[in-house]
């Protein structure tokens, strides 16, 4: 009887405990969601603010910037004149095109070298393989600033100054990309290679027909990361691209703030907004693969 009562009480108590646990879970979940929203807001805020500010005239940007008020963020009289000025007077389209060429060239080259090198390091056996791989990784720790002068001398000596290849050739081999692809290729079962070899496939055929189709998520990750990196590059293009007509958009935008007393704040914000669009679009398109790529490559 006593046991029954206890059992009944336990039975009665279970929903209450479950409810309490559920509430606790809800609370934790709510805190988690709230934190994520807050972080998202913090990251998105500069972009949204720049986009809204790009709809103000330069005079309005200066007049409403300080002290902070509602109008510091929202345009009192939205206008697209900054975008018109950007494209008509400041030849923004040309700079965007230059940047697209530089980024496209770099992404293509890095994907090519990273997949080939990554495959070789992961699947082929040759003397000194691990040592070379280790040395390759070490180059990731050398800042660009340290090698800027010799790099400039080499590229300049080759007569490549102010050419598009100069923007991406020195960065054709990226240690991160090689590492990412090596880790990914290493996870493909060797039995697939063996089966292909039994069918008469050589190394190149196995690379193109067997290995590459299995690393698409990692490739997408590489494309995304490399695109962001090259699209945002500043120091090297500043140094090597001396022809103003071939300069990239990031340097051009910095030039708009070149003379503080004659600032072009409106077009600057329009430009900043515009250059983030390709990054956002690429990230949205590739985000599914990006997550999978990082998960499967062992990089977390």
């Amino acid at each position: 009887m006593t046991e029954n009562i206890e059992t009944n009480m336990q039975t009665l108590a279970q929903p209450a405990a479950a409810s309490a646990a559920g509430e606790k879970r809800d609370f934790v979940s709510w805190i988690g969601t709230g934190s994520l929203l807050l972080i998202t807001f913090l990251f998105a805020f500069p972009v949204v603010w720049a986009a809204l500010t790009s709809l103000k005239s330069t005079a309005s940007v200066i007049a409403t910037r300080y002290p902070l008020s509602f109008w510091s963020f929202f345009p009192p009289q939205p206008t697209l004149e900054n975008y018109a000025s950007l494209f008509n007077e400041l030849k923004f389209g040309q700079y965007i095109m230059n940047t697209a060429i530089a980024s496209g060239g770099q992404v293509a080259l890095v994907v090519l070298t990273s997949t080939l090198a990554g495959y070789a390091f992961a699947r082929l056996r040759f003397p000194g393989r691990d040592l070379i791989f280790g040395l390759t990784l070490l180059t990731a720790f050398i800042p660009l600033e340290v090698i800027l002068v010799p790099l400039y001398q080499v590229v300049s000596g080759l007569g490549l100054t102010s050419t598009y290849p100069a923007l991406f050739l020195p960065f054709a081999a990226q240690p991160f990309g090689i590492y990412l692809m090596r880790q990914t290729f290493a996870q493909i079962p060797r039995e697939l290679d063996d089966a292909a070899r039994v069918d008469g496939a050589g190394t190149w055929r196995i690379f193109f027909r067997v290995a590459l189709p299995n690393v698409k998520p990692a490739l997408a990750t590489l494309v995304l990361i490399q695109f962001i990196w090259s699209w945002n590059a500043y120091l090297w293009p500043l140094v090597i691209m001396q022809d103003p007509n071939k300069q990239i958009v990031q340097v051009m935008l910095a030039g708009l703030k070149s003379s503080p007393n004659y600032s072009l704040d409106g077009p600057l914000f329009a430009g900043l907004t515009f250059v983030t669009v390709p990054l956002i679009v690429t990230a949205i398109v590739l985000q599914r693969y990006y997550v999978r790529g990082l998960m499967t490559s062992g990089i977390r």
Partner: protein
């Protein structure tokens, strides 16, 4: 009619053969004199000597061989770039064998690029530098002394402060591009709201406020505004120089608080002179110069603005232009911006602040010719062309800055009638260059953080002593 004919024939009241001949001869003489009078070769023009007006250039005629001259300068907005590009076009029409390649970089990256190019041994023929780095150019033999390629008149025409700053051991290392000497701008509306008297609106450089008067006025303004509940308007604007905020630009801005406490005319062994000098005569010792009692007092005045909340410790972008600060320091820039785009408040100008002397910096962007250039005469000629009267007028018209050459301000009506322009010219005349040192970059790299620390509240005396000692150590490598 017949009467007139008779008189003419008799030589009375009419046109005789003799008068016609005399008149013709006079006209011919006048015609030969007039052009040389009307287009007299002043310091910035040399008509007829070369294929085009190469201004102050006195070097040999340029090569006929096809060559390329590279120029690097800061980026401007399109309307300011336009006259420079037009000048290139005109130069190329006269010398079609000379190709000009121009590189434009964001202003903040200019020094970085110059360093990189020089380090790599492959630099553009003409680069935009700064008068404050003239000692560095001379010591490193980076720049070509320009006295051999420019007339003495042309060099003499540059405002003395900018010319002296660019001259090392009698050699001119770079040519000031425009004047940026600062004076006081104030917001009349804020002064009115606070019931505080505005600073003197005079064109005499000696007629401005003292540092104490400035501090008292800002205290009064801040107290009144805070009592009204206004927590966002300040007496002094946040610095818009360099990276902005305190410690952003000792050369052009914060150094004035120290150097105004000195006196260039005091005996050389006095602390007054040393305070003004900022560094020993050989340019290698800061102790005893940067940390004199007068310098410490100057930096205490500077610190008071932050300690008492008269100016923000952080960065406020466009603080003065937004109408949220009573006072700021600027050259002609604000005046031209306000006149062009309209100001959101009533504004006025006053001479620079005074300590023992009124102090304004003469630091100016200044192009120089790279010593490794293969085409030095041609580079000098191109630079001279860019700096001739016509091209400079076109540049200043759109840029709105003050010319670096006196003959150009003298000929401009604005510098005779506009009080802001007159004050600007007077300040330019009386401004001072940076202390000359081969280690000037080390100096400012050490002193800028010290200024920031002082603004944030550290002990002024201790910080100036330790900074001076640090600079001594940094400069030891040049001994």
């Amino acid at each position: 009619m017949a009467e007139h004919y008779k008189m003419a024939k008799a030589g009375k009241g009419g046109i005789s053969r003799r008068s016609v001949l005399l008149g013709g001869a006079s006209l011919l003489a006048a015609a030969s004199i007039l052009p040389s009078r009307a287009f007299a070769a002043g310091p910035g023009t040399n008509p007829g000597k070369y294929k085009i007006d190469l201004g102050g250039y006195t070097g040999p005629e340029l090569t006929d061989a096809p060559i390329t001259i590279k120029v690097m300068r800061q980026e401007f907005s399109p309307e300011i770039n336009a006259p420079i590009e037009a000048a290139y076009t005109a130069f190329k029409e006269a010398y079609p064998n000379i190709t000009i390649e121009e590189e434009r970089v964001p202003y903040g990256d200019l020094a970085k690029k110059v360093q990189l190019y020089v380090a790599s041994g492959s630099a553009p023929d003409i680069m935009m530098g700064s008068t404050e780095l003239a000692s560095v150019y001379a010591a490193g033999e980076i720049a070509v002394p320009l006295n051999d390629y420019f007339s003495a008149d042309f060099i003499q025409d540059i405002y003395p402060a900018m010319r002296d700053a660019a001259t090392i051991d009698g050699k001119v290392m770079c040519l000031a591009w425009e004047s940026n000497s600062c004076f006081v701008y104030f917001n009349r509306d804020i002064f009115k709201r606070a019931g505080v008297e505005t600073p003197p609106e005079v064109t005499d450089v000696d007629g401005g406020w003292t540092a104490d008067q400035l501090l008292d006025a800002m205290r009064a303004i801040t107290e009144k505004l805070r009592k009204e509940g206004d927590q966002t308007t300040f007496g002094m604007a946040s610095s818009r120089f360099g990276n902005r905020g305190p410690g952003s630009n000792y050369s052009q801005l914060e150094g004035m608080w120290v150097r105004m406490m000195g006196d260039p005319n005091a005996p050389k062994d006095s602390t007054l002179f040393k305070t003004f000098a900022g560094i020993s005569e050989d340019g290698l010792t800061a102790s005893g110069y940067l940390d004199t009692p007068e310098a410490i007092q100057g930096m205490k005045n500077y610190q008071a603005m932050f300690n008492e909340g008269l100016t923000p410790k952080g960065v406020v972008v466009d603080h003065y232009k937004s109408g949220a600060a009573a006072i700021d320091f600027s050259s002609m820039a604000f005046a031209n911006t306000f006149r062009k785009s309209g100001a959101p408040f009533e504004w006025g100008v006053s001479p620079p602040i005074r300590g023992n002397i009124p102090f304004a910096s003469s630091v100016a962007d200044a192009p120089f010719i790279y010593s490794g250039s293969q085409y030095i005469p041609e580079a000098a000629a191109l630079l001279a062309f860019l700096l001739n009267d016509t091209n400079r007028r076109a540049f200043y018209d759109v840029r709105g800055s003050m010319p670096s050459r006196k003959s150009l301000t003298d000929e401009s009506p604005a510098y005779k009638t506009d009080p802001v322009a007159i004050l600007c010219a007077n300040v330019g005349e009386r401004a001072f260059g940076s202390p000359k040192s081969v280690g000037w970059l080390d100096y400012v790299n050490a002193v800028n953080p010290a200024v920031k620390d002082i603004a944030l509240g550290v002990d002024v005396e201790e910080r100036l002593h330790s900074t001076a000692a640090q600079i001594d150590r940094l400069l030891a490598k040049y001994r």
